[in-house]
């Protein structure tokens, strides 16, 4: 929360007034992506959380946080209808894209994993076109001595929205995304994770709930979150996960259905998760440590000219310590950390970090040159 407040304080100092002209952006509220009719089955816990808030709803929580937002070059107006009749009508919504709840028994412990993903989605209300998106998510893991009841799940979902243990929840993360977001002063360039693939070896490690395309969506979202978070650039939503025929549908809280068109991306990322592998690292009396490795291929190109900015494989290992007392080891979250760590380190380097990790991680020639070209390009996409 302190970090959030300090961010807000800095943003006030650099807010609109510093820049002169400010564009109004209407707050469209909370929205659910996809088929209007299946929202209750796809987002049951978020809907329950919303009901538990009574008349205020999640929308009310978001609305009450709006006055604290002081973005760089736009002003938030609380209602969409305030833009009617104007030449320009840009709106922003917190669009929930995915909610997953899974329970797993590991020895005597029940592990409850709840993950909710969303986007701060800016769109042109007049042309119904997606302008830019900043992905956000929150995953909460609970270890329980007995199978989780609905009451426990509801409590944990509330943690996800409101935050817990000093970590900002989805609502605060959305507010932070809005504070850091910027509207392009000129014409914006669109970046999208367009192609995602997972190799057979790696796919075999994914649990069943990641089948039917969810694994690809997870990979695209994780990539997008790190890219957007580290470089502060917006991206178009991964179309195979959230749009059909480049039309992204969403339902806002008042039951209105919007069909947004996704523009064609100017630059396309192709991401392929090639391999996941565990290697023993160290064995001591107190326990042992394992390296959870991931190998990912990443390519960025401009599709019309076929110009490639980066095309390389990267590997990353994250160490996990396993105490001697731990009987069961759950691998998948450690692999997730490994993949996320890879993206985080890579985009850290692209944003300007001097991390020696790159030299050992990249498989391919001229990586410094490729990183430089990618950095220059992505800077122009802010």
């Amino acid at each position: 929360m302190f970090k959030l407040l300090s961010n807000i304080a800095i943003s006030i100092a650099l807010s609109c007034s510093t820049y002169g002209y400010c564009q109004d952006v209407a707050f469209a509220g909370l929205a659910f992506s996809g088929d209007h009719g299946s929202i209750a089955t796809r987002f049951p816990y978020s809907k329950r959380f919303e009901s538990s808030l009574g008349i205020v709803g999640i929308n009310g929580l978001l609305q009450s946080a709006l006055p604290s937002i002081h973005p760089k070059n736009y002003t938030i107006v609380p209602r969409l209808d305030e833009l009617k009749g104007r030449d320009q009508a840009i709106a922003v919504a917190l669009v929930l894209t995915n909610e997953s709840v899974s329970t797993e028994q590991i020895g005597p412990v029940y592990k409850l994993l709840i993950q909710i993903r969303g986007q701060a989605l800016f769109f042109d209300f007049k042309s119904m076109t997606v302008l830019r998106a900043y992905p956000i998510s929150f995953a909460y893991i609970d270890a329980l001595s007995e199978p989780p009841t609905d009451a426990v799940k509801d409590r944990d979902v509330a943690y996800i929205y409101k935050g817990t243990g000093g970590k900002p929840g989805l609502i605060d993360r959305f507010i932070t995304a809005l504070t850091g977001a910027a509207l392009p002063s000129g014409v914006s360039r669109f970046v999208q994770v367009s192609n995602v693939a997972i190799g057979d070896e790696a796919r075999a490690i994914f649990p069943p709930e990641y089948h039917n395309g969810s694994a690809e969506t997870w990979l695209a979202d994780t990539f997008g979150e790190e890219l957007s978070g580290k470089l502060g650039i917006p991206i178009l939503p991964y179309s195979k996960g959230y749009a059909i025929g480049n039309v992204m549908s969403m339902t806002i809280s008042d039951d209105s259905v919007y069909n947004l068109t996704l523009p064609k991306p100017d630059y396309q990322f192709s991401v392929e998760l090639l391999k996941l592998k565990t290697v023993p690292f160290e064995v001591q009396a107190a326990g042992r440590s394992l390296i959870f490795g991931s190998l990912v291929s990443i390519k960025l190109e401009e599709p019309l000219s076929g110009h490639i900015y980066i095309d390389s494989q990267f590997k990353n290992g994250e160490v996990k310590i396993v105490p001697i007392s731990q009987v069961n080891i759950e691998n998948f979250p450690a692999y997730q950390d490994s993949v996320k760590g890879l993206f985080s380190k890579l985009f850290g380097v692209i944003s300007g970090d001097n991390n020696p990790w790159l030299k050992s991680a990249a498989i391919g020639p001229n990586i410094d040159k490729q990183v430089l070209a990618t950095r220059e390009l992505l800077k122009s996409c802010k």
Binding site: D35, S38, V187, V247, S305, H307
Partner: protein, 378 residues
């Protein structure tokens, strides 16, 4: 759901204003070779303009053949005043290769669709003709939906011929000897017998079967859908393209009783084509009313379904359209569009159908006017 309807209605109002704005996006690429050691600003400017024109070519290539041919008429006009047609240009990639003396640039442009259309219209034959000298065009756009669809079971005829053939043969033979010997007080006898019998039976049965299965195609009847608003949409598109246009109903009283809208509707309720007599009457009626061109379109509305993206109702309309030139001795089709399908979505079946019909009518009218302009008809 009521709120949903209101929101969508609002969207439709908003969408209308977008259609007026008519800004479209397209991408293009161009390479220019140069003799200097590296690309000069002049070389870059030349490549940029070529890439912008390439983007316009891309846009029209996606719109169809008729539009591309129309573009040739205004290419020079765009080159001489690009700002009027190109709202903004974003350089996506530029590559200067001094080794091969080649500079390549890739751009995304926002095009002013309205200005491009106006330029096309003024360059077309109809655009350069005075209003009074332009030919009159009458049209009828009929939308219809399947009323009844009768399916027939297959009529199956089966025939079987069974024939039996049998052959049996029997042969038997018996042979025997008997003897007696008498010695003093003893009589002894002996006998032997042998028999041979054989049977041979052959039987053959032949079955021949065959027949026919007669399947009759479905019998479909149509019902016409009132589509008051379509006339306005079509009129607007033909009018803005420079044609003097009238709905067929207004031509009917001037046709000497030959052009009858009810007869055309009756034909389309029962089948896919106008009957010969109706067509001849239409041609005669148009000549009497001094109307040279006749645009005729049918918009067939399909079954309602669920849109996979939104969960809303979705309807598909198949459009077939053509323009007849009755000014010649033998009437000729001078523009033909379709069959092309368009989908519309909405919270109710009615709204989905209206959206699909509107889109289909607009697109068909645009395609017809492009072909007419391309053919130089005025």
């Amino acid at each position: 759901m009521q709120i949903t309807k209101i929101a969508l209605a609002t969207l439709i109002i908003f969408s209308t204003s977008i259609a007026h704005a008519d800004v479209v996006s397209s991408k293009g690429k161009a390479s220019v070779t140069y003799s200097e050691t590296q690309a000069t600003p002049e070389t870059k400017a030349k490549a940029l303009q070529a890439a912008q024109m390439n983007a316009i070519d891309f846009y029209y290539a996606e719109a169809g053949d008729a539009e591309v041919e129309n573009l040739d008429a205004i290419r020079e006009k765009i080159r001489s005043d690009p700002d009027r047609f190109i709202l903004d240009t974003t350089i996506l990639n530029e590559l200067d290769d001094p080794a091969s003396h080649k500079y390549t640039v890739t751009v995304r442009v926002s095009l002013n669709g309205s200005n491009l259309r106006i330029a096309l219209r003024s360059a077309s034959a109809v655009g350069t003709t005075a209003t009074g000298e332009r030919s009159q065009l009458a049209f009828i756009f009929l939308s219809r939906q399947v009323d009844t669809n009768t399916t027939f079971d297959a009529r199956v005829t089966k025939r079987a011929v069974v024939s039996n053939q049998g052959d049996a043969a029997k042969a038997s033979q018996q042979a025997g000897t008997e003897g007696e010997a008498i010695k003093k007080s003893q009589v002894s006898t002996n006998a032997s017998a042998s028999a041979t019998e054989s049977h041979n039976i052959e039987q053959t049965a032949t079955v021949e079967s065959g027949g026919a299965s007669l399947v009759r195609s479905n019998a479909t009847t149509w019902k016409l859908i009132p589509s008051q608003g379509l006339g306005d949409v079509v009129t607007q598109i033909f009018k803005t393209s420079g044609y003097r246009v009238a709905e067929a109903q207004f031509v009917e009283p001037l046709s000497g009783g030959k052009l009858k809208v009810a007869a055309i509707e009756g034909d389309y309720e029962s089948g896919n084509d106008l009957q010969s007599a109706t067509l001849q009457n239409v041609v005669e009626g148009l000549r009497t009313a001094d109307v040279r061109y006749f645009a005729l379109a049918t918009l067939d509305v399909g079954q309602v379904g669920v849109d996979p993206a939104t969960g809303l109702q979705r309807m598909v309309v198949t459009v077939n359209a053509k323009v007849l030139d009755v000014g010649q001795r033998i009437p000729e089709s001078v523009a033909v569009a379709g069959p092309t399908q368009y989908a519309g979505v909405g919270p109710t079946e009615d709204e989905a159908r209206t959206n699909a019909l509107k889109l289909a009518a607009q697109s068909a009218a645009r395609e017809l006017t492009s072909q007419l302009a391309n053919a130089g008809l005025r």
